[in-house]
Amino acid sequence: MGFYLIKRLMLMVPLFIGITIISFAVIHLAPGSPIDLATDLNPKATAEVKARMRAFYGLDKPLHVQYWNWVSRLLTLDFGNSFSQDGRKVADKILERLPITIFINVISLALILIVAIPIGVLSATYKNSFFDKATTVFVFIGFAVPHFWLALLLMILFGVQLGWLPISGLKSLNYEYLPAPAQVWDRISHLILPILISAFGGLAGLSRYMRSNMLEVIRQDYITTAKAKGLSDQAVIFKHALRNALLPVITILGLSIPGLIGGSVIFETIFAIPGMGQLFYASVMARDYPTIMGILVIGAVLTLVGNLIADLSYALADPRIRQA
């Protein structure tokens, strides 16, 4: 197991290098340079001043030198300073936003697991029943619904019309004045809609995947053997079929992490949650390149880490993998 872990970690290195190369390439797509942004509207900025600024930022050096400088700074977690008004370090800005995004994503991942797996299993076990057909309809609609539209509709329904749930931010304006239990509910109620939206797409996908997986497993010979041995249906499903059908789900979860992180842009912006996704959106609108690059790299690294955890879990669960 330890050997597998080391092998896996080593595989991450070329992927990380690839991530940095692509991120670096993306920023150098920018027509014009960051200098122009600062000096375009300044009539006193002569060519000489621009040249000095360029040297100061290291933009006159050849590309591979610039790349090397950037990556070595990255490894010390120095993402540079934000181009926006406050000019703070990008790493600080990301760090204060990261926890809430991770929190929401982890909770929605848990929600997806808790809801989708039973639905998938039941749909497969009672194939073509009313439940199965109803969930298939739900899944297909779930694949076609634009998440931001669903967010809008839920906002209108629960926030505006019914007034049951708040629709923006992490806490109410009068949070300080609320008694402690009300404070707890306040926090929770602000997170309900964002988590629902975040989990929605993954729910549809995973339940469908779980269903088709279960159907495959049920067709296997060892299931027929179990039934022939006289085991009850429940034992067959839960002890044998489920465990085998569950394994690939771990990989799927790992693959859905980039989707979850990317999706956080939408619901964080709509619900005004101060997370990494909203910071990304704000940086894009403000053309704050260092922050954009920082979040891009962080997002990809989070995916790498997520996949690593998924692979390790898979190896833990399936001894066959460890042999390889």
Partner: protein, 288 residues
Amino acid sequence: MIPKESGGQEKLRHLFWKRFRKNKLGLFGGIIVLILFIVAFLAPLISPYDPGQIDIKRVLQDPSRAHIFGTDQLGRDVLSRMIWGSRISLMVGFVAVGIATLIGIFLGSLAGYYGRWVDNLIMRFVDVMLCFPTFFLILAVIALLEPNIWNIMIIIGITGWMGVARLVRAEFLTLKERDFSVAVKALGAKDFRIIFLHILPNALAPILVSATLGVAGAILTESALSFLGIGVQPPTPSWGNILTAGKDNIEIGWWLSLYPGLAILITVLGYNLLGEGIRDAIDPRLKQ
């Protein structure tokens, strides 16, 4: 001249249509797609008003007989904007998927046909690209270029080819060992010819499924980008940017939020059902 597998090709097509016709959901999806095409094509004829016609006296009107889906914050008829918006959605969907499919076919066929280090290199590239949350990548690139419809189409295409590439590679890995490929190579055909004139035509079916489902995804992405304000810019109507107005007027204009979203839902559903229908019809695992 493309030497098809003997006679089997014609029978395959008949078999496909027979199976597809039996799949009611797939047909339903196909009908939705067809209706959408007709609406987009006939937009100038069926649109009740000019989508850009501003009328400040009729700002944010409820749906009525004069304006079936109401008016937006500048008094423009929502139904007309939605009809013209369908053109945008279809165009973005097809061009973006076209680009993604071309890139995917190119890289996938190279990887599948040549194998070894070419395959390794391309697949590592695919893995790296898949590490990035696609939406992040798209937003980052749009931040650097201006948000207009052509950039959107190219970006969605450039970030969406990975699935097709893997698919094509898998097809090539099997197809290149088949008799017809070996035979053509023995006859002295050059690699380029073998890849594009012989093997590729036989791999088209799964690519078609992927492309159909890809159009659905591209439409969703474009509407999300337009909704966030970095996609199709007003006054050009897009279902996404009508929804932006819906968000801005959330308390007083529910129709701006409901109908465009419904249009997106139905369209994407149509393409998804169609794609799944095609996939079921070509599935070699016949359940007979």
